[in-house]
């Protein structure tokens, strides 16, 4: 008797049909998406997923862990949200608007729109400062309330 090879079972037929339809549409659009520059588009498509899952997410997770650990070591664990929230919001704005904030499109921006490209960095820094100031203010208020209560 031959040894039985493990076989991959089929799984739910409903799921198979659904995914089949999905792949058909994605394939129809996909060949058109890839038509102009197959390698470049594939690189962007797969690269976006890999860059997010294997670089961006581990990076911000590590930054958050070291923030929590650092404050914990300093005996200031309760401060975590007051540092985390403004930092996360500021990083989010930078992630979305880095071409304008970093000035990498400054020349084209000026030429195309007739507007000055200079204010974006200053405004992002200003928003960041306001976020941290607001956070510090509410932390101070909480500390004062805790001191009065205890």
């Amino acid at each position: 008797m031959r040894p039985r090879r493990p076989r991959l079972p089929l799984g739910s037929p409903r799921q198979l049909v659904l995914l089949g339809c999905s792949f058909a549409v994605a394939g129809y659009a996909g060949v058109r998406l890839l038509a102009s520059d197959p390698l470049g588009v594939l690189l962007w498509f797969v690269g976006a997923a890999l860059l997010h899952d294997l670089v961006l997410l581990p990076l911000y997770s590590a930054a958050d862990r070291s923030l929590v650990r650092g404050l914990g070591t300093a005996g200031r664990r309760a401060w975590t949200p007051y540092a985390r929230v403004p930092a996360a919001l500021s990083a989010l704005l930078l992630l979305v608007w880095f071409p304008l904030i970093g000035g990498r499109v400054a020349e084209r921006y000026r030429l195309v729109t007739g507007l000055s490209p200079d204010g974006f960095l200053a405004r992002w820094l200003l928003i960041t400062a306001v976020l941290f100031a607001g956070s510090a203010l509410s932390a101070a208020r909480r500390a004062r309330r805790a001191a009065r209560g205890g």
Partner: protein, 414 residues
């Protein structure tokens, strides 16, 4: 002994107590609604270009069946494209934190072993590559394009259009497969069970934020992006609130011409020599032949006014501006189209640029508010706004309002 939780394929590697089916379900349902609106407004924007009218309007001529839904874009209400495209871009930006949080909440699944339990499961995971890759591809190309950062591999329109179909195909399948799970997660008592397939960490770290706090952070991020962006689509004094949006917080200087410029004359390569009174002639062709009109001759034709906005595919728009010029249908009549208005092919002096030629449909030509404008807000057009003459059509995407017009060819384009 080695740490059994050392690898991301071990459920114990992921320790945040925030992760769980309820957290993922709420974010998933927000995305289900939000991404559906993005997809529909995106398709609507493609239709607004009237791509089936003429090859010059169509950036994706090989669309085939994907253009099944196309319809003649209306001219009313005049703010139609302002609304649909403002929603598309502003909502897309607002959903960025939700997308990031959703991906964070399910990242343990990426490393699940064995890679496939069945053929259906293997296909589902392959489909997730289209879902995640497609979603990030769509958001990234959109966010870069509105900032004029054209680093993506090719023209924005085909990438964003075909990418949307790939993404949405995977998105719908995912929604159909996961919706029952999401609804169940919301109905049950808060994260009752932590089964083998659950997102709940088997050895959670001490909490540093409540789940409500985590929702607050995601919502706060969305609100912050919304508040610093929406003003560029609302215009007027509210533009000042768009602190980080590409078309905020200020308008260009210039009195009556001080409203947003899509592309300056300098960028389009238009020189004063091209538009000088002695050099510039408008060439109008139609059923009865061709006429050449100087600006002085145009000014002798009946002039009409219309209050119309400019709304760009990039999501920004202006409040209504007061345009004055010759009706397109009067120009059609000048070359023998007295009855029903025909389509028109508009050509600019611009030497480069994707839309230096644009086609308008008969209903757009027929609308009494569709002008070849010579004045705006009571003064002559500035060079950046299309001097000596530009097209302005109600509800059309900004780029179809051709500037520095050199030639109008009336007739059936199909």
């Amino acid at each position: 002994m080695r740490d059994p939780h050392r690898l991301p394929s071990s459920p114990g590697f992921w320790r945040s107590p925030v992760r769980g089916p309820r957290f993922t379900a709420v974010l998933g349902l927000v995305l289900l609604a939000g991404v559906s609106v993005l997809f529909v407004t995106g398709l609507v924007s493609y239709a607004a270009y009237n791509p089936n009218l003429s090859r010059v309007n169509d950036t994706t001529p090989d669309k085939g069946l994907l253009g099944f839904y196309l319809f003649a874009w209306p001219t009313r209400p005049v703010w139609l494209y302002r609304l649909t495209q403002g929603v598309h871009v502003t909502l897309g930006l607002t959903l960025v934190p939700v997308l990031l949080a959703k991906l964070w909440s399910v990242v343990p699944r990426l490393f699940t072993l064995p890679p496939a339990r069945s053929l259906a499961h293997a296909l589902e995971r392959l489909s997730l590559l289209l879902l995640v890759g497609g979603g990030l591809f769509e958001f990234t190309t959109g966010v870069l394009d509105i900032q004029l950062d054209y680093v993506f591999p090719g023209s924005f329109y085909p990438l964003h259009f075909y990418g949307a179909w790939v993404f949405f195909a995977a998105f719908l399948a995912h929604a159909a497969l996961k919706l029952p799970t999401a609804v169940r997660a919301l109905r049950e008592r808060p994260d009752a069970g932590g089964g083998a397939d659950s997102l709940v960490s088997p050895r959670p770290a001490p909490p540093t934020v409540s789940r409500r706090g985590a929702f607050g952070l995601v919502g706060g991020g969305s609100l912050l992006l919304f508040l610093t962006t929406a003003g560029q689509s609302l215009g007027g004094p509210l533009r000042r609130t768009a602190l980080l949006a590409p078309r905020g917080p200020a308008d260009p200087n210039g009195g009556p011409s001080g409203f947003q410029i899509n592309k300056t004359a300098a960028y389009a390569g238009i020189t004063p020599a091209d538009t000088h009174e002695d050099a510039w002639r408008l060439v109008v062709t139609g059923r009865t032949g061709t006429v050449r009109l100087s600006r002085a001759r145009l000014l002798q034709l009946p002039l009409h006014s219309a209050s119309l906005p400019i709304a760009c595919v990039e999501g920004w728009s202006t409040a209504d501006q007061w345009w004055r010029g010759v009706r397109l249908r009067d120009l059609a009549a000048l070359v023998g189209h007295d009855g029903a208005a025909p389509d028109v092919l508009v050509e600019s002096l611009q030497r480069h640029g994707a839309f230096r030629r644009a086609a308008l449909r008969a209903d757009q030509v027929a609308d009494p508010r569709s002008l070849l404008a010579l004045y705006v807000n009571g003064e002559e057009l500035s060079a950046d706004h299309g001097h000596p003459a530009r097209v302005i059509v109600p509800a059309a995407p900004g780029v179809l309002n051709t500037k520095w017009v050199a030639r109008l060819t009336f007739g059936d384009l199909r």
